[in-house]
Amino acid sequence: MSKPKASQFEAGESEKANASIALAQNNYFDEVYMPKQKEMTEAAFRDEKTLMDTAEGRANADTFIALTENPNRNAVAAVNTQADLASALSDMSLQGTTQGIIGARSDQTNAIKSANKLQADTQTGLSQIAKIENTETLNMAKANLDTSLGYMKGLTNIGKGLAYRKGLNEGKYG
């Protein structure tokens, strides 16, 4: 009976090859992917304000397009126009900030999940900004504006009708 030798318990060729490839892959990960992961994490925390600013900007632009693209005398003279615009702007702005902050938090938690080797979501924070929806306040302000434009159109039509009738009475149309 011979004593067991240490050499009999060394790693075999396949085991060494396996370890060698794993080490090469690990080195590759450290060189190539680790800096990217670090970059992504840095960006997720650095860009929080940018995401909120962008989303607010978009929300404000939506509000201005809806409420100020067609200024008219009636709207300017209406008692609530300024208040409507201000509340729609702040409501939409809040909507924008909310989407921006949700997007930023999602980027940040995903970065930390990846760092901890946990399953992370694939949706980016920027795509969250696309989810800005019109708020009730903006819709109501737009409805007020549409009503005022509707009155104007209605009055114009009545005016046109009266003018036509006058012309008809005066025999202008044959």
């Binding site: 300017v76 300024q82 615009l85 940040q108």
Partner: protein
Amino acid sequence: MAVRQAKNYTSSGSPNYDALGLPDVQDPDKVFGDILREDYADYINNFRGYENRLLGMTDDTTLIDRARRNTARQAEIAAGVQKRNLERYGGAGLSAAQIQAQKAAAQRGNALSMTNTVNNARMRQRDINQALLRDLIGIGQGINSSSLAGLATAAQGQSARDSAYKNAKSSYRSGLIGMGTSILAAFAI
């Protein structure tokens, strides 16, 4: 069908993989241990700071602060728009009393808007903070379960080694006893 590339065989008959630059590993266990420690050091150096920042955001008030600031600014912007439009339409035929009424309505609107927006911001901020807390708890659970898995692997390895050592000791002892009895038996004959 995939075609395997011809390999550059060495004199010993085995293929030559030198060009791949694979590292030479004699002790996989040591390499694995080193990588684990290095991974942990990378994590601490690169990500722990950010993780702590995220953990500190569960009482964040950014949304409320920005809502308060933005609402005041939006009121100013709306007043500017109204002022320019009034100038554009030559006062829009409004009397001084009507302009006064417009201003009063704007002031009331601004006050209501501030209250409404900040209240909404508070509720949304709470939602966002709660969602972050949920995510953080999920991350914590993940870290806890992977650390337990790591410990379980180490403990299993230790107990396997202990029993292998006991087995080896007892089989060596029984071998010695067997050999001794054989020698004694030979003398007895």
